[in-house]
């Protein structure tokens, strides 16, 4: 037999926070994937909501293009508030 499909598991630790990726499970369908994810990843109150996504439905950025994609953001220091000089007398801004 071949492996059941792979699902990526995302868990919301509590209301008000985002779902965060925590690992993966094999399961034949989404119902069983949720059940498996609950058993494997939430045995100690790690969350109150689970998402499962078929692993092959995820498109990832290419690690080889890391510089091209993300370097420009690093060099634009004028996007940060600390770049601007405001006299202290003005007070908190």
């Amino acid at each position: 037999m071949t492996d059941a499909p792979l699902w990526e598991v995302f868990i919301r630790p509590r209301n008000g926070l985002s779902h965060v990726h925590c690992g993966s499970v094999h399961a034949a369908d989404e119902v069983m994937a949720i059940q498996a994810a609950r058993d494997v990843y939430t045995r100690r109150g790690e969350g109150n909501s689970i998402w499962v996504v078929p692993s092959d439905a995820i498109t990832a950025s290419d690690p080889a293009l890391k510089e091209q994609n993300f370097e420009p953001a690093m060099s634009k220091i004028y996007r940060h508030p600390s770049f601007y000089e405001i006299p202290e007398d003005v007070g908190h801004m």
Partner: protein, 330 residues
């Protein structure tokens, strides 16, 4: 159990020097390596072997303790043991998932375990004839596992390190429930105390060899240290374990079965007597008391479960087909 993961590892790699240097620079800068990043073939192979073996150890490790779930002496002990064994199953699954990110399939890993090609920790080839063995396993075996696993939380491979963080959070309960069992027996009737001492006698040395062969003859340690797959040598971890555990044995008035054990004031560390490495290699090579039983049990579980896995996949396919048909009819 995890330092044994490098036994027979082949870290040979064929990339050019510039590639290896760039990779090493990332490791030295404490950058985590993630699944899609370029990595030397030897790094990938070493990790697949180590994580796979670690996963198998968690799964096979459920067997010696599972043996006592139905016979635990109280409901409290039974609930704790059940939860612990379930955790170990979870650890196996986190680890299989981490290994899969390196391009090996779950089925491949299962086949390698069942065929005997892949190993698991030698410790699980010892039997659990008495209830005190459950105490000794939690205290010593999980204790040794914790020593090994804490530095693995900083392993250079991201998915392995993250899986280890989850595992370590859960291990502390395992060790404490084991020690509590030992303490209860050691403070009980003389027959109970004897039972606890007997379990310590049988599990002490097998626990020490969980850290793997001595540094003087572990050939694959250096490359794994350089790649930060491993952070401490086998002997360093073994010493840490002994230093932590001896006072715990003294506290419950049990005797560590090593007549040569002595405190070295200069190194502020215990020194242990000679370890029987022949016995270790015998067990690793399949001739321990329980090797055959363990693999037979895993094989039976795998074969008996085949129809369930097939039915689940068929059910999933049927639901998908119906869903697609319903969408087409709209």
């Amino acid at each position: 159990m995890y330092a044994q993961g490098l036994i027979g590892a082949d870290a040979a790699t064929t990339e050019d020097a510039a590639f290896l240097e760039r990779f090493q620079a990332r490791i030295d800068a404490e950058e985590k390596i993630e699944p899609n990043d370029p990595m030397p073939a030897g790094y990938r192979k070493t990790l697949i072997r180590q994580i796979g073996q670690h996963a198998h150890s968690e799964i096979v490790g459920m067997l010696p303790e599972g043996n006592w779930i139905t016979r635990a002496p109280s409901l409290r002990r039974k609930a704790a043991l059940l939860a612990k064994v379930q955790d170990e199953g979870g650890h196996g699954l986190y680890l299989y998932a981490a290994a899969e990110t390196l391009g090996v399939t779950r089925d491949q890993m299962t086949e390698e375990l069942l065929s005997g090609k892949a190993k698991y920790s030698s410790i699980f080839n010892y039997p659990t004839p008495t209830w005190a063995d459950i105490g000794a396993i939690g205290w010593l075996v999980d204790g040794a596992a914790i020593m090994n696993q804490i530095p693995l939380c900083r392993c250079s491979y991201g998915p392995y390190a993250r899986a280890m963080i989850r595992v370590c959070k859960e291990e502390s309960f395992h060790q404490r429930q084991g020690y509590e069992i030992m303490m209860t027996l050691a403070r009980g009737a003389p027959a109970q105390k004897d039972m606890a001492q007997d379990a310590l006698n049988r599990w002490w040395w097998p626990s020490l060899v969980m850290f793997g062969p001595p540094d003087s003859d572990s050939v694959h340690g250096d490359q794994s240290m350089a790649w930060k797959i491993k952070r401490f040598t086998n002997d360093e971890l073994r010493r840490k374990f002994i230093n932590a555990t001896v006072p715990q044995a003294e506290f419950i008035d049990l005797t560590v079965p090593d007549p040569d054990l002595r405190w070295n004031d200069d190194t502020q560390s215990y020194e242990h007597g000679p370890i029987d490495w022949d016995e270790f290699w015998r067990v690793v090579k399949g001739h321990g008391q329980m090797n055959r039983d363990r693999i037979a049990a895993r094989r039976k579980a795998w074969e008996d479960g085949a129809w369930v896995r097939d039915a689940a996949v068929a059910h999933g396919e049927k639901r998908r087909t119906r869903h697609t048909a319903a969408l087409a009819a709209e």
